[in-house]
């Protein structure tokens, strides 16, 4: 029986990370979480490439992964700048606020269910004043 973890297992883990990233990118509406999901898809692909590098006993997969990291860094910089721009325009990170970018034949979507009311925060405890409040006034200095 084989003793070491096989190529197959690493490919399965990479596929699961990729699929979870796909679901996150499609379902979430926060721009930042969508972007994190895309980065997680890249992690799954890198895992595949490194596994193949070891399976094939050469460094081509590792070199490729290094370029993926480079491109991901560029992508993160540009995307964060864009997200900041979009936030300044709409004061929100919700991606559905940019529905005017849709195709002309597609109907816009509306949210029917109201959001739950925000949780009521307990007021912070206030200390009862202790002692006498000193007289506020010009302090005389004797120099």
């Amino acid at each position: 029986m084989n003793e070491l973890p096989m190529l197959h297992n690493y490919l399965v883990v990479g596929a699961i990370l990729f699929a979870l990233g796909t679901v996150g990118f499609l379902a979430r509406r926060n721009l930042i979480v969508m972007f994190l999901s895309a980065e997680m898809m890249l992690q799954g692909v890198s895992l595949n490439l490194v596994a193949f590098a070891r399976y094939r006993s050469n460094l081509q997969g590792q070199a490729f992964t290094l370029f993926i990291i480079t491109v991901a860094a560029c992508e993160a910089g540009i995307a964060l700048a864009l997200i900041l721009m979009l936030y300044r325009r709409r004061r929100s990170l919700d991606v559905t606020l940019w529905q005017e970018l849709r195709e002309p034949t597609v109907e816009p979507t509306f949210d029917e269910e109201p959001l739950p009311p925000p949780p009521v925060e307990e007021p912070l405890p206030r200390l009862t004043p202790a002692g006498l409040e000193p007289v506020h006034g010009q302090e005389t200095s004797h120099v």
Partner: protein, 372 residues
Amino acid sequence: MRLPSILLQIPAPAPGRSLLLLLVPVALGLIAVYLLLPRPRGTRPLWGTLSAGMAILLAGWLLGRSGSGRVETVLFYTLSAIAILAGGLLITLRNPVRAALSFALVVLSTCGLFLLQAAPFLMAATIIIYAGAIVVTFLFVIMLAQQVGTSDADQRSREPFLSSLAGFVLLGAVLCMLHLTYSTERFDALLARARAAAEMPTLEEIRNMLGSGNDFFDALHREAQHAHIAPDKTKAFEDSLSALEENWNPPSWDADKMRSALRKLYEEGVAIRNSYGNLQPPRESSFLPPGIDNKKQPLELSTYSRLHSNQPSTQPLRDAQGRSVLPAENVAYLGRTLFSDYLLAVELGGTLLLVATVGAIAIAGRRPEGLR
């Protein structure tokens, strides 16, 4: 009749039961993610967490049936369980700060998996760039774009059922393809038939067992093509298979000779089956450079992993005790590869980073309103 080689790569469908068993954790994961995606009415955390736990346990059991208790195996399962759990948390948590932190956890456990696969430089680079720079920048942007209270962006999902269906149908398709490619079930069944036939007393019974036609041998030929990593073993197996096939129709061997040939075939087949998708290349691997005599001394994995990408290396570096210098001494070789084979790509990557820096500053810089 031998099939053309492209057809040999595509396996015929395996027995359906294990394929269905493979789809159970995928369906459980779909249910879990669907139940846990944020929505304004509130999610069902109990059922979602239950099905997520069952999906992960079942997937681990399906993967780990052939595993053993070695350190590398235990580390692999721990790290991949952490990575998958943190990935699920990333897409289901409502607070984007927590999502960014669980993304950092995904990156860290993936780095552990990189280290298990003899990629120490990639581990360090990924930790520094992803977990160090990118996650911190994300957190910074989240703080800048602070949203007070509940918001549409975090409390709602876009089409939760359709998107989780899309993702998990993709996952199921990939897993089925991997299962069909790396499953040894059909090969095991064929080898078990060969083994059972080798126990039969007379030639008649052997021929009844394996069928008088050549179907059995054709199936074995197809299966043997999968073991790309061990061409020597495949060649030995093919040779004894061809010898057996030539004397099968019409039968020219007596029962004893047939039995010993089948036994030899079984042992060589088991050797091939054990090298299916194995990450450690066998001693007789053709990937070794011609200068190294692998019959003299056993070679560690470091010898394999430190190879240059497309040129054979010379003797492995060893310390005074004769051990390899590092468990996976391939950082220097990765650097040499990058600055010789991939020099143009490295230069292009540097240019891309520069352009991205300029672009990010140009996009995000605050300008006076009149200049927009």
